[in-house]
């Protein structure tokens, strides 16, 4: 029953190629003629004074998904109700059909990490995530999609492999999957594993949309920077994914060191080409 409900929600989504809306590239995003899908970092939105560019996208029918980054769903402590209320408020403001957050924690012991950190793949972490996601979904007006993150290290003493952990989490929470292909690539490369092996074991039919971002290698490790071009290997993985299953949306995240508009357009066109989705430029 539950899986069926999720299937209906994913099936209802009609997104296409999208891009993360950021104030720095608001003009570029507004000028994309075919755009039907964007995302905004929920914590960057002041609900009392939302950016006009964002409301303009909403008003021209673009689906704008609020993407939370500070909920700390994977933290041992209960999720902060005010942060959940803000995410819910963003969904209402933007008329979004879903919101998204991460399989991660961002603070512990009263200290902010300043970034998304991996959770251990243990029963205890699965229970903490499940509790926090249930608390969150109880307050959200729309479904939640969960994004597995990129990490430079793993926790010791894992009780699940990555695919089993995620599959179990999605089943327990009835959440959709936000699959970041660049994260899959980064983790596999840094672990010396085959990214396709993970793709082939994930419940691809639960994917609401897909993230893609750029990265770079430093000191022998691949960093998912969001400030570098999308590597050819990540585009190849997008192609492999879309050969297996066709998720409704594919979104480029760029968070700094913005290139000239022509380069961003080329990256969006490359996503369209790799996925078979229509161009938006």
């Amino acid at each position: 029953m539950a899986a069926e409900a999720v299937g209906v929600a994913v099936g209802d989504l009609d997104l296409g190629v999208g891009i993360g809306w950021r104030p720095d590239i608001a003009g570029f995003v507004a000028g994309l003629p075919g755009l039907r899908f964007a995302e905004v970092v929920a914590e960057s939105v002041n609900a009392g004074h939302p950016p006009e560019g964002l409301l303009a996208l909403r008003d021209r029918g673009v689906t704008v998904v609020p993407h939370g980054v500070r909920l700390s769903l994977g933290g041992a402590e209960p999720v902060d109700p005010q942060r959940v209320a803000h995410l819910a408020g963003c969904a209402d403001l933007l008329g979004a059909p879903l919101v998204s957050e991460h399989v991660a924690f961002v603070r512990a012991g009263g200290v902010e990490a300043g970034h998304l950190l991996p959770v251990p793949r243990t029963r205890a972490a699965l229970a903490a995530l499940t509790d926090n996601i249930a608390r969150t979904c109880a307050e959200l007006p729309v479904p939640l999609a969960l994004e597995p993150i990129a990490a430079l290290f793993d926790w010791p003493d894992a009780e699940y492999d990555e695919a089993d952990f995620l599959t179990e989490l999605l089943e327990r929470t009835d959440a959709m999957l936000l699959l970041d292909v660049a994260n899959v690539y980064a983790n596999a490369r840094n672990r010396g594993e085959d990214p396709l092996a993970l793709l082939d074991r994930l419940p691809l039919e639960r994917i609401a949309y897909v993230h893609v971002a750029g990265g770079a290698e430093h000191e022998g490790l691949y960093h998912d920077t969001h400030t570098d071009p999308v590597p050819a290997e990540v585009l190849a993985l997008v192609k492999e994914l879309y050969a297996r299953h066709r998720p409704p949306g594919l979104l480029l995240e760029r968070d700094g060191r913005y290139p000239p508009a022509g380069e961003l357009r080329d990256e969006l066109d490359a996503l369209a080409a790799a996925s078979g989705l229509p161009r938006v430029t």
């Binding site: 990490a113 229970a127 990490a151 290290f153 010791p156 490790l221």
Partner: protein
């Protein structure tokens, strides 16, 4: 301890290792955790540079290293406050552009008792070449000419 309490303690130890100079918790690859800690510090320095461009520009390509050295044992308070703390710690040695950036910030914000910034509605302060006046949410530099 319950499994949830164990998880809380393990997460706190990892965060301490990544952003507060704590030891690498047992079982983690210390090289990988150190690489992640450097990446987090780089992200933090970059965010401060965006919030305080003149302050960061003083140090050019060395900004990351200079900020990292100062911030190593200071937990992050957010880019605007980290930049304010850094600027105040170096107040006496700031070149003009960075000093003006600090002046503009302090015309608009004051430190409250709990350490959080509070917006000022009205303030005046002396600035190089004039007086900085803040009223109705706007700051304006009123030039003062010395009499002949």
């Amino acid at each position: 301890m319950t499994p949830r309490e164990d998880l809380a303690a393990a997460q706190a130890a990892l965060v301490a290792a990544l952003v507060a100079g704590g030891p690498t918790p047992a079982g983690f690859d210390p090289i990988r955790v150190a690489a992640a800690a450097r990446a987090l510090m780089g992200k933090r320095a970059g965010e401060v540079a965006r919030a305080w461009p003149s302050l960061a520009a003083v140090h050019g390509a060395r900004w990351m290293a200079v900020f990292a050295e100062w911030a190593r044992d200071r937990p992050a308070r957010g880019a605007r406050l980290d930049g304010w703390d850094f600027a105040r710690a170096h107040r006496d040695s700031l070149p003009p552009a960075a000093a003006l950036e600090l002046l503009m910030w302090e015309a608009a914000w004051r430190q409250s008792g709990d350490g959080a910034p509070r917006r000022r509605h009205f303030s005046t302060s002396t600035a190089p070449g004039g007086v900085l006046v803040r009223m109705f949410g706007r700051s304006r530099l009123i030039p003062l000419r010395s009499r002949p």
